[in-house]
C-alpha cells in the first residue's frame, strides 16, 4: 500500500474549487484556495496518470495513463471540504499507448493510441464499441481528439515533425501541418479563437489559424474540409524543448524542459516569462479564470496568478529633470533621494512630483551616500571627511532637513555605512574603522577598530549587535571580522567568506548573523558572548549569483541580480518572485517592500528604482498578483541517488528524509508520512551526490556525510529541535575535494593555456563512517577503483587523509561496514561483481593492502549489498546488481580467525526482477529487494545448518521510476514501511507474513 508518493506530476486539472493532480498512478485532490490536501485516489494499475478529462456538468472524469484508462465520478462537498469517489470504469488495459481521450457523449469516450487508432468505448458497461485505424500508423508523440457532429476529428503529432488532421471515418487526411523541425510534443485547439497551437522538440511554439470563408460551426464536417490552416506565428521563447501549451481567451501559455513558463498574446508577443520548478521539466498545466496551475519534474504543483502586466505591475519613468543623476535611493516615505555630479542632493516628492535641492559644499567629487535601515536618516560624506546628516520628516510636509554638518579628521574616507539606525561606521585609510553615534546636535566617536591589511582595505557592509557591544563587518576582499566594544582588533575573523567583491549585506538577528554576497550563497554565523562560539554554521544556495539584500524583516524576500535582470526571490519557498530587465547591478538602484491599502485590503508591494541612460525608472509590483504558491512542495529536480530516513525513538510523528541526487543538492525534509513532505534545508555540491551516511550523536543530533562527483566530501552536524514545531538546523564542518580545486590542481594559470591535467574526474561512489575511540574515520570508495581513508576532526573542522588502497581493478560501486566478533569489517563491491572483505583497524594503517577474503558473486556490477551477522561463527552476505540476480552467501569463520573465511552455503535467483536490483535489505527472517523495474519483492528467509532458504512472499509495484535504492522507515508487528527513491520518492507499507 502506498503511503506517500512524490514523482513527476504529469497531469493537472482545475475543477470548481479544486485542483486535481496526477501523481504516479493516483489522482491527488487539493483545495485551490487553502492549498489543503483533500485526498488521494489510486486509479490506474502501475501506470502514471497522463491526462484528466471531465465531462461537463457531470463531475465524471476520464483518467488516462500509459495503456490504461479509467472513469471515476467524484462528489464534492464544498462545505466540509471532502470528496468521495466512485470508480465507474476500472482501469481498462488497451493494447497500445493512449495519447489523448475525449468524451463524445455521456455514455461514450474516445481514445487515440500511439499508432493512430481511435477507439470508442461505452462507459456504462465498460465495453469496446468500435475502432478506426489510420493509414498513417507510424508512432505518434502527441495527439488531440475533437468530437464533431457524427464524427471525431483527430490531430496527430508525428515523429516526422508534422501534424496530420483527419476525420475518423475518412481514408484521406484533411490537412498536413508542416513546419516544425522536430517531434511534435503537444497540440491544443481553441474553437472560439479558431487557432491551433503546437509545441515541439525544435524549441518552438507555432500558432496556426483555421480560416473559413463561410460562417460554419466548427462542429460541422464541412468546416474542417473547407478550412485553410496556416502557421501565422513561429515563436521562440524557450531554451529547450517545449512540452505543452494551453490557450485562454487572452493568452497562450507554453511550458518547457527549461523550467520556463511563457505567456504569449494571440499576436505572438511574449508578455511574460517566469521560472518555476527548479530547473526541471514542466510537464503539465491548466488554467481557470484567474489561475494557472503547473506540474513539474521536481514533483511539485504550483499555483500561479494568471495576470497580465497591466494588472500586476506599474512601470514608469520619473521626470526628475535633473542633470547627471548619479545615485538614487528611496526614503522612508517612499520619496526619492538623488545625488548628482554637481554637488547637489535632491529630494523628490513622488506624490506632488516636486523636488527640493540641497546644496552640498563638499570639496571632493568622490562622495558617499548612505541611508539608515529605517531610511529616515541620510548621511553624505566626501573623501576628505566632510559629513552632512539629513533627516526626513516623518509627518507633515515631505521634506528633509540637515541636522549635522561637520568635518571628520580621519583621513581619506573610503566607506560610510550604517550599523542600525543610531550608529555610523566610517572606514578610512590604513584600515581605520570609526563608529560614530549621535550626541545631541553633534556626533561622537564611540569605538575605533583596526581592519587587518588586505588588497582593497575598506568595508562593504556592517551590522551592530548593541546588547553584545559587537560589530560585524565585511571587507572588500570577502573577509568577515567581528569586533567587541573596546578591543581594537577583531576577536574573530573569517577569511575569504566571499569572493573579491566582498559581502553585500549583513543582518543580525537574535543569535545569528546572516550575510549575502556575489557567489549565490546566503551564509549564516552563530553569535555569542563566548568568542569560541562565534562560528560559521552553514549556507543556503540561491538560484542566482549576485545577492544584494533582504527587503523584509523576516529575511524572506532577497533581491539581487541575475545577468542583466533585477531579481526578487522568496527564500522560504525557493521561488523567484519577479525579474526586471534593468540592465544589471552596476547601475544605481534601490528597492523597497511596503504595504498599501487598496480597496479595504492591505496589499504588499515591491518597488524598484534604477538609473538607465540618465533616466530614472520605477517599477512597482503588487505581490498578490504575481506570487506563485506551492500546492505540492517540490523535492529534487532530478534522480535521487541516495536517501536515508531518520526518526528518533520518541513519540514524534515526523520522519526526516535526508537525500542527495543528480541535481547536486542534499536535502533534509520532514514528512508526516501522509501527504506532507517539505524541504527544510537544501545544500548544493559541485556535482551529483551519490552517497550519504550519518552517525547519531544523540537523538537530536547527527553527523551527516555526503559525497559524489568531483571527489567532493561534505560533513555537517544536523540538529533537530522540538519546540512546538520541529526545527532543523545545520552546521558545516568540512567541504573537501580529494583532488583539490581546479585552481589548486593547476595553479593560477588560465584554463586555456594550462597543460592537460592527467588526473581522472574521480567520483566518490559510496562512503562509510566508522567511529574508533574518539575519531571519526571516513572510508570512501572511488570510481578510480581506490579506497581512500580520512580522519575527520569535528573540533578543528578538518579532514585528514590517512590511507589510500589500490586493490580493485575497476570502479567500486558499494561499500558496507559491519561488526563481527568484536571487529569492524568493511566490504567493497565492484562493477565486475567482485566482493572483498577488509578488517578496519586503528589508524594510521587501517587496512592491509590485500583483503582478508574476496569472491565474485554477480556477473556484473553490484548495486546493492547487505549483511546479517548470524552468530560468532558466520554471517549472511546479500548482493544484487545489474544481472537482475540476488545472491546470498553464508560465510563462516573458524575459531574467530578472520582469515579462515569461507562460503559454506549459497542461494541465488534472477527470477524476481527484470532489471538492475538497486536495493536490498536483510531483516531477521525477511528480505526486501527493489529494482529499476519498479517492483518491491518481499522474501521469507531462514538460515540453518542445512543451508539458506529464501522464498518469494509478495511483490508490489512503485510509481517511482529509476529506483536507486530503498530504506526501511519503520517496522511493526504486521508490516514494514519502506521508502524507495529514484525519480521521486514513494513510501510503501508491505504486510509481513503471518506466523
Amino acid at each position: 500500500m502506498s503511503v506517500l508518493t512524490r514523482t513527476d506530476v504529469t497531469a493537472v486539472k482545475f475543477f470548481n474549487n479544486y485542483i486535481l493532480a496526477g501523481v504516479g498512478s493516483s489522482v491527488e485532490i487539493f483545495n485551490k484556495d487553502s492549498a489543503k490536501f483533500i485526498r488521494k485516489i489510486k486509479i490506474l494499475k502501475g501506470q502514471k496518470v497522463h491526462s484528466i478529462e471531465y465531462l461537463k456538468c457531470e463531475s465524471k472524469f476520464l483518467i488516462i495513463g500509459g495503456k490504461q484508462f479509467s472513469i471515476i465520478e467524484l462528489t464534492f462537498d464544498c462545505e466540509e471540504d471532502v470528496v468521495s469517489e466512485q470508480q465507474v470504469v476500472y482501469p481498462i488495459i488497451c493494447n497500445d499507448w493512449i495519447h489523448s481521450g475525449a468524451w463524445i457523449s455521456k455514455e461514450k469516450v474516445a481514445i487515440l493510441t500511439a499508432h493512430n487508432v481511435v477507439q470508442v468505448w461505452n462507459i456504462i458497461n465498460g465495453t469496446f464499441d468500435k475502432e478506426y485505424t489510420s493509414k498513417d500508423n507510424s508512432i505518434l508523440y502527441s495527439g488531440l481528439l475533437l468530437p464533431i457532429q457524427d464524427d471525431i476529428l483527430v490531430f496527430s503529432g508525428t515523429v516526422f515533425s508534422e501534424v496530420i488532421i483527419h476525420q475518423c471515418g475518412d481514408d484521406v487526411p484533411l490537412h498536413h501541418l508542416k513546419g516544425h523541425k522536430g517531434v511534435i510534443f503537444s497540440i491544443t485547439y481553441n474553437s472560439e479563437k479558431a487557432i491551433i497551437v503546437t509545441t515541439s522538440d525544435d524549441r518552438s511554439v507555432r500558432i496556426w489559424t483555421v480560416v473559413n470563408k463561410e460562417p460554419v460551426n466548427y462542429k460541422h464536417k464541412s468546416y474542417w474540409s473547407n478550412a485553410k490552416i496556416s502557421c501565422v506565428y513561429n515563436l521562440y521563447g524557450h531554451m529547450a524543448r517545449v512540452m505543452c501549451s494551453h490557450i485562454t481567451n487572452d493568452l497562450i501559455i507554453s511550458i518547457g524542459e527549461d523550467s520556463r513558463i511563457c505567456f504569449w498574446n494571440h499576436e505572438g508577443k511574449l508578455l511574460r516569462k517566469i521560472f518555476a520548478h527548479q530547473n526541471s521539466c514542466i510537464w503539465s498545466l491548466d488554467t481557470d479564470n484567474r489561475h494557472l496551475v503547473t506540474g513539474g519534474g521536481d514533483c511539485s504543483v504550483i499555483l500561479h496568478p494568471l495576470s497580465l502586466v497591466s494588472e500586476y505591475g506599474h512601470k514608469e519613468t520619473i521626470p526628475i529633470n535633473i542633470d547627471a543623476p548619479k545615485k538614487v535611493k528611496f526614503t522612508a516615505r517612499q520619496n526619492i533621494l538623488i545625488m548628482n555630479e554637481f554637488n547637489e542632493l535632491i529630494y523628490y516628492d513622488l506624490s506632488s512630483n516636486t523636488s527640493k535641492t540641497h546644496r552640498l559644499d563638499h570639496t571632493s567629487t568622490y562622495k558617499l551616500l548612505s541611508l539608515s535601515p529605517c531610511k529616515q536618516i541620510i548621511a553624505v560624506a566626501d573623501m576628505n571627511g566632510k559629513l552632512d546628516i539629513f533627516v526626513e520628516n516623518c509627518k507633515g510636509d515631505a521634506v528633509i532637513r540637515k541636522i549635522i554638518d561637520t568635518k571628520l579628521n580621519l583621513g581619506k574616507i573610503l566607506s560610510l555605512l550604517w550599523a542600525g539606525n543610531r550608529h555610523l561606521v566610517v572606514c578610512s585609510e590604513n584600515g581605520l574603522i570609526t563608529v560614530l553615534a549621535s550626541k545631541e546636535i553633534d556626533i561622537e566617536p564611540v569605538d575605533e577598530f583596526h581592519l587587518p591589511p588586505c588588497k582593497e582595505r575598506w568595508l562593504t557592509s556592517s551590522a551592530l549587535s548593541s546588547n553584545r557591544g559587537m560589530l560585524v563587518v565585511g571587507d572588500r576582499c570577502g573577509h568577515i571580522h567581528v569586533y567587541l566594544h573596546g578591543s581594537r582588533n577583531p576577536v574573530k575573523s573569517f577569511d575569504k567568506i566571499y569572493d573579491r567583491y566582498g559581502t553585500t549585506s549583513i543582518t543580525i538577528k537574535n543569535n545569528e548573523a546572516i550575510t549575502t554576497g556575489r557567489d549565490g550563497k546566503i551564509k549564516y554565523f552563530s553569535l555569542s558572548k563566548d568568542v569560541n562560539e562565534i562560528k560559521y554554521t552553514n549556507c543556503k544556495d540561491v538560484e542566482f549569483q549576485w545577492l544584494e539584500k533582504f527587503l523584509d524583516k523576516d529575511e524572506n524576500y532577497l533581491c539581487g541580480f541575475q545577468e542583466r535582470s533585477f531579481v526578487v526571490y522568496d527564500v522560504k519557498n525557493n521561488l523567484k518572485i519577479l525579474e526586471v530587465a534593468c540592465g544589471g547591478g552596476h547601475r544605481s538602484w534601490d528597492a523597497v517592500r511596503y504595504i498599501e491599502k487598496i480597496n479595504e485590503h492591505f496589499e504588499e508591494f515591491i518597488q524598484i528604482l534604477y538609473l538607465k541612460n540618465y533616466t530614472l525608472h520605477s517599477e512597482k509590483f503588487r505581490l498578490s498578483k504575481i506570487m506563485s504558491k506551492n500546492i505540492i512542495n517540490g523535492i529534487h529536480s532530478k534522480q535521487i541517488n541516495c536517501l536515508k530516513t531518520y526518526k528518533d525513538n520518541g513519540d514524534r510523528t515526523a520522519t526526516m528524509f535526508i537525500s542527495g541526487g543528480e541535481d547536486t543538492t542534499l536535502r533534509i525534509s520532514i514528512s508526516d508520512l501522509n501527504s506532507k513532505l517539505k524541504d527544510e534545508l537544501v545544500f548544493k555540491q559541485l556535482s551529483s551526490i551519490r552517497t550519504l551516511k550519518f552517525h547519531q550523536f544523540d537523538k537530536n543530533k547527527i553527523l551527516l556525510l555526503s559525497a559524489g562527483g568531483r571527489a567532493q566530501i561534505c560533513a555537517k552536524i544536523i540538529t533537530f529541535e522540538v519546540d512546538h514545531a520541529l526545527k532543523v538546523s545545520s552546521e558545516e564542518l568540512v567541504d573537501y575535494l580529494i583532488k583539490g580545486t581546479d585552481k589548486e590542481r593547476k595553479g593560477d594559470k588560465n584554463w586555456r593555456d594550462c597543460a592537460i591535467d592527467f588526473d581522472p574526474e574521480t567520483r566518490i561512489m559510496d562512503l562509510e563512517i566508522v567511529k574508533i575511540d574518539n575519531d571519526f574515520i571516513i572510508i570512501t570508495a572511488c570510481s578510480d577503483a581506490s579506497v581512500q581513508i580520512f580522519n575527520l576532526n569535528t573540533d578543528k573542522r578538518k579532514l585528514y587523509p590517512v590511507q589510500e588502497i589500490k586493490y580493485h581493478k575497476t570502479c567500486i560501486l558499494k561499500t558496507h561496514v559491519f561488526e563481527f566478533i568484536t571487529k569492524t569489517l568493511l566490504v567493497t563491491c565492484t562493477t565486475r561483481g567482485d566482493v572483498a572483505f577488509w578488517e578496519v583497524e586503528k589508524p594510521p594503517k587501517m587496512l592491509s593492502s590485500e583483503p582478508i577474503f574476496s569472491m565474485k558473486t554477480n556477473k556484473s556490477g553490484i548495486n546493492s549489498i547487505d549483511v546479517n551477522v548470524i552468530d560468532n561463527t558466520g554471517f549472511l552476505l546479500a548482493t544484487a546488481g545489474d544481472d537482475n540476480a540476488i545472491h546470498l552467501n553464508v560465510i563462516q569463520v573458524e575459531n574467530y580467525v578472520l582469515n579462515s573465511m569461507k562460503v559454506i552455503n549459497s542461494w541465488s535467483s534472477d527470477k524476481y526482477h527484470c532489471s538492475q536490483v538497486t536495493g536490498l535489505k536483510l531483516m531477521e527472517d525477511l528480505m526486501i529487494s527493489t529494482s529499476i523495474d519498479q517492483r518491491l519483492t518481499l522474501f521469507t528467509l531462514s538460515v540453518t545448518t542445512d543451508g539458506v532458504k529464501c522464498d518469494f512472499y509478495s511483490q508490489c509495484c512503485s510509481d517511482v521510476s529509476d529506483i536507486h535504492g530503498l530504506d526501511v522507515v519503520d517496522t511493526s508487528n504486521d508490516s514494514i514501511t519502506v521508502s524507495v527513491f529514484g525519480k521521486g520518492i514513494e513510501v510503501l507499507r508491505m504486510l509481513k507474513p503471518t506466523k
Binding site: 513527476d8 488495459i93 508578455l271 523495474d933
Partner: protein
C-alpha cells in the same frame, strides 16, 4: 568545462575517437560478438537505425574477415536521418515501418535474406521513463517486424532494449520468434544506464506467421505466465559480455593509460547532421530569441 573532461570521464568515448569509430557504441557490438559470435559466417547484414554509423563500421570490418572476396559482403544501413556515407555500406534513408523499405533491403541482397539484423536505435527521450520505455519498445518491435520480412530462418537479431518496468512483455514477444533469447550488457555500457541488448538466436517464426506491415506489432499483455507482479514473470537469462580485462565504462582512468607515454586530444569522428535544435542555435547566435 575543459575539452578533455569528457575524455577523462568516459574511457570508451575517448577510445572511440582514438580508434576512429563514429560513436562509443561500436565497442558494445564488438563485445557482444566476443560473447556470442554473432558475426560467424555472416555475409549479409542489416543495420537498422544506423546513424551515426558506428555499428555499420563494425559490420564492415568484421564481415570482411569472413570471406576472401570483399564483394560478397553486403551491408545495408537504414535510418530516418541522413548519415555520412561509409564505404561498402548501402544506405537507405527510410522508415522501418514501411514495406517498401523491406523490399529495398531484399533487392539489395539480390533476393536473398539477411543473416543478421542489428538495431541500436534509441528514441528522442523525453525524460519520462514510462514514455521513453514505451517508445523504445515500439522501436524494437518495429525493428522486429521488418526483421521478420528480411531475416533468414535461423538468423540472428540483436537490438537495444531498455530494461524498464514492462520489459518482460517484450521478452515474451521476442521468444515467439526466436529459439534463444538472452539479454546482455557489454562492459562498455554503463552500470547506471538502463540500456541492455537482446541477443535473439535461431529465427523460427510461429508456423502460421505471415509477415505483414499493415498492422504494427504490439507488445504483449500481462498474463498467467507473465504476471504484472508476482512470482511468475517472464525473465530471460542475463549475461555480461566483453573480456574481463576490457576497460570498464564506470571507472575513471587517468589520461595517461597504463603503458602510454603521451596523450593527444582527438576531435569526435563525426558530428551530428541536422539536429532539430539547429534553427534555435542559429537564432541564438544572431540574438533573435525573444528574451524578456
Amino acid at each position: 568545462m575543459g575539452k578533455t573532461s569528457k575524455d577523462k570521464r568516459d574511457i570508451y568515448y575517448r577510445l572511440a575517437k582514438e580508434e576512429g569509430w563514429r560513436a562509443r557504441s561500436a565497442f558494445k557490438l564488438l563485445q557482444i560478438n566476443e560473447e556470442y559470435n554473432i558475426f560467424e559466417g555472416v555475409l549479409r547484414a542489416v543495420d537498422l537505425c544506423a546513424a551515426p554509423g558506428s555499428w555499420s563500421q563494425v559490420l564492415t570490418k568484421k564481415l570482411r574477415q569472413n570471406t576472401e572476396n570483399e564483394d560478397d559482403v553486403k551491408i545495408v544501413a537504414v535510418d530516418l536521418q541522413a548519415m555520412a556515407s561509409l564505404p561498402g555500406v548501402k544506405q537507405i534513408q527510410g522508415d522501418i515501418t514501411k514495406i517498401s523499405t523491406a523490399n529495398e533491403i531484399i533487392k539489395e541482397f539480390e533476393g536473398h535474406k539477411a543473416d543478421l539484423v542489428v538495431c541500436d536505435g534509441a528514441p528522442d527521450v523525453t525524460g519520462l521513463h514510462d514514455i521513453d520505455e514505451y517508445v523504445q519498445s515500439q522501436l524494437l518491435l518495429a525493428a522486429l517486424n521488418i526483421t521478420t520480412h528480411v531475416l533468414k530462418i535461423g538468423g540472428i537479431f540483436v537490438a537495444k532494449i531498455f530494461r524498464g518496468k514492462d520489459v518482460t512483455l517484450l521478452y515474451s514477444q521476442l521468444k515467439l520468434f526466436f529459439e534463444f533469447v538472452t539479454v546482455s550488457k557489454p562492459r562498455s555500457s554503463r552500470n547506471s544506464s538502463i540500456e541492455a541488448f537482446v541477443i535473439c538466436q535461431n529465427y523460427k517464426p510461429p508456423p502460421d506467421y505471415v509477415p505483414t506491415m499493415v498492422n504494427p506489432l504490439l507488445d504483449h499483455k500481462y498474463c498467467d505466465f507473465n504476471e504484472f507482479t508476482g512470482p511468475n514473470r517472464f525473465i530471460v537469462p542475463f549475461n555480461a559480455c566483453g573480456d574481463l580485462s576490457a576497460y570498464d565504462s564506470d571507472t575513471s582512468y587517468p589520461l595517461l593509460l597504463e603503458g602510454q607515454e603521451s596523450y593527444e586530444y582527438k576531435e569526435p569522428v563525426q558530428g551530428p547532421i541536422d539536429p532539430p535544435y539547429k534553427e534555435i542555435l542559429e537564432k541564438n547566435k544572431s540574438m533573435q530569441t525573444n528574451n524578456l
